[in-house]
């Protein structure tokens, strides 16, 4: 049996890991920081991909990234508007927007369920022609996505320590404190969701150019996948400064892609991938809880044994 760890597997895991890590960073903002489960992520990812693909087709691959981010901000704003100004529960707001986005996405793609970008300039094809060195030919895709993710990561870590960033973090951390300290939670939730969704859409746009196609079902299950990456990252890197957490999320995303690649390599059929993701998320989320419970059980067993031994004299 040939090795399951080949260089090309590592390479594509790193490439996809970096691209999808933007969604994981988006959930880091909405789920970890704001404590809101933003279920519009699936639709928003496809929205970013669709908007990005259409702008790329018209010949502006760079503009496509910003257009996608703009679309993501709009989507995030609507989700936030529903929950902050219209009294819709946050989970429901995400589901509503997600449902609506399906139609929007189809419309963006010219009422077709997929478009392809073959023959169009993409950020990847443009960068490929710049240098002709051998190693560059193998790694240019990774270099591009890595650069984008690092820049976004640094900006995000910087932003989360500004006044507005601190306010957003406090919003999800302590409701009472926020109310007593001149932060308008409606505003911080809106800003947070706009930023998160812009990252989700950016990820979609980059993926579209990476695989040269966009499909209406592209985003299905994206929340679960991103959550898996986020939790793997948090478990790996643990607690620490914001910058450390951001790095953890990116690493977690790469590791998740690696796990998936290995699973595929071990002849897990591609159709089973979503189930594998779901299982990984379920295990990853329940792991800290189960660990604590197991520790308690052990301690209790020991304690009961001790009590039995010394029981007579104690009473």
């Amino acid at each position: 049996m040939e090795s399951i760890f080949t260089l090309s597997i590592l390479q594509s895991a790193l490439e996809l890991g970096c691209i999808y890590s933007l969604v994981a960073l988006a959930l880091f903002i909405s789920f970890s920081i704001l404590n809101i489960a933003d279920l519009s992520t699936d639709g928003c990812f496809t929205l970013g991909c669709a908007v990005g693909a259409m702008v790329t087709i018209s010949g502006h691959p760079f503009l496509a990234l910003f257009a996608a981010m703009g679309a993501g901000i709009a989507s995030g704003f609507i989700t936030a508007f529903l929950q902050t100004r219209m009294g819709v529960p946050s989970i429901l707001a995400g589901i509503i927007v997600n449902t609506g986005l399906y139609t929007v996405n189809i419309a963006v793609m010219g009422f077709s369920s997929n478009v392809n970008l073959f023959g169009c300039d993409t950020i990847f094809s443009l960068a490929k022609d710049k240098i002709t060195a051998g190693w560059y030919n193998d790694w240019y895709k990774f270099l591009i996505v890595f650069l984008i993710v690092i820049v976004i990561g640094i900006i995000l870590a910087w932003f989360l320590n500004t006044r507005l960033g601190l306010s957003i973090r406090a919003t999800g951390d302590n409701e009472h404190m926020v109310r007593a300290s001149s932060i308008n939670p409606l505003f911080t939730i809106t800003v947070g969701l706009c930023i998160a969704n812009s990252l989700t859409a950016l990820s979609g746009a980059i993926l579209g150019q990476y695989q040269k196609s966009c499909d209406i079902n592209l985003g299905t299950g994206m929340v679960t996948i991103a959550l898996a990456s986020l939790i793997i990252g948090e478990t790996l890197i643990g607690k620490g400064s914001v910058f450390r957490k951001v790095i953890g999320v990116i690493l977690g995303s790469c590791l998740y892609r690696f796990i998936v690649a290995v699973a595929l390599r071990m002849n897990v059929p591609a159709e089973a991938l979503k189930l594998v993701s779901a299982i990984i998320v379920a295990i990853a989320i329940s792991f800290p809880y189960l660990k604590e419970k197991a520790a308690f059980q052990r301690q209790r067993t020991v304690s009961i044994r001790m009590n039995k031994k010394g029981g007579g004299s104690a009473c």
């Binding site: 320590n161 601190l166 007593a180």
Partner: protein, 267 residues
């Protein structure tokens, strides 16, 4: 400084749970006044505080703070100039953020320029935080990078007090802020409160269940019952008042036997 005129608030109007929590309350505090408030549970003390901070809007009446009518001002806007400490020490700080970040938030909240969204804390300000923390004598100045969640209740409450007064508020509301702490820590936090208020001449309202504190601290004592201020004493009259007098007064004003153990026991 603070002028409250005939404010009323009824919760759940028109239902079986209808409760008139504030009933035509009027109160005027001069700048630098430090008033203590006593009253049994449900008397409306916390509701009065929440009306001032804007957790809800009053049904009628007017609240004026430092010449500005804040009756219908949004909560997050007026909280720029109002410091509020709760009984629960966990309520005043963000547990997953570090001591430094919590202080930065408190410091930046009052930097009045509304465009200062992206302002950050610089080294000089960090040094200032350090100095302020060292005044607490709790060793917190060496733990500035640790999450606040690791601190004890007393440490968190002391930090909250520091944060609430970091930028001098126009009024400081203390809602039994030492009641959940052990006696030694409570004493320490109280000492700190006294020194900060005296040093900066902060106008302050403090709810307490300790009759001794109610007479000892500040320059004025208020008693609330059934959503109204039933007794208001200051100056010479107050200095002559004993704890027994205050308890008696409570019974007269309330017109009923005192059934609150906490007040009796804290005599």
């Amino acid at each position: 400084m603070l002028k409250i005129q005939n404010i009323s608030k009824t919760f759940n109007p028109g239902t079986v749970n209808e409760k008139r929590a504030l009933n035509q309350v009027s109160l005027e505090l001069a700048a630098g006044d430090f008033a203590t408030i006593v009253g049994s549970n449900g008397a409306g003390k916390s509701t009065l505080f929440n009306a001032i901070t804007g957790a809800f809007y009053v049904d009628e009446g007017q609240i004026v703070l430092d010449g500005e009518d804040i009756t219908y001002q949004k909560e997050h806007i007026r909280s720029k100039v109002i410091g509020h400490l709760f009984q629960d020490p966990l309520k005043g700080t963000a547990p997953h953020m570090t001591i430094e970040e919590n202080m930065a938030l408190a410091y930046l909240r009052a930097s009045t320029a509304s465009h200062a969204f992206f302002s950050r804390i610089n080294a000089k300000e960090k040094q200032k935080f350090r100095e302020q923390l060292s005044l607490l004598n709790m060793g917190l100045e060496d733990r500035m990078k640790q999450p606040v969640g690791l601190l004890s209740g007393g440490q968190r409450q002391a930090l909250t007090l520091l944060m609430a007064t970091m930028v001098t508020p126009k009024i400081l509301l203390l809602d039994e802020h030492t009641a959940a702490l052990d006696p030694a820590t409570a004493e320490k936090v109280l000492e700190l409160t006294k020194s900060i208020i005296a040093e900066r001449q902060i106008t302050c309202l403090m709810v307490t269940h300790n009759m001794h504190q109610a007479l000892e601290l500040g320059n004025r004592t208020l008693m609330m019952d059934g959503g109204s201020i039933v007794f208001d004493v200051q100056g010479e009259e107050r200095s002559k008042l004993t704890i027994d007098d205050l308890l008696k007064q409570f019974q007269i004003c309330a017109g009923k036997r005192l059934d609150n153990d906490r007040i009796l026991l804290s005599k």
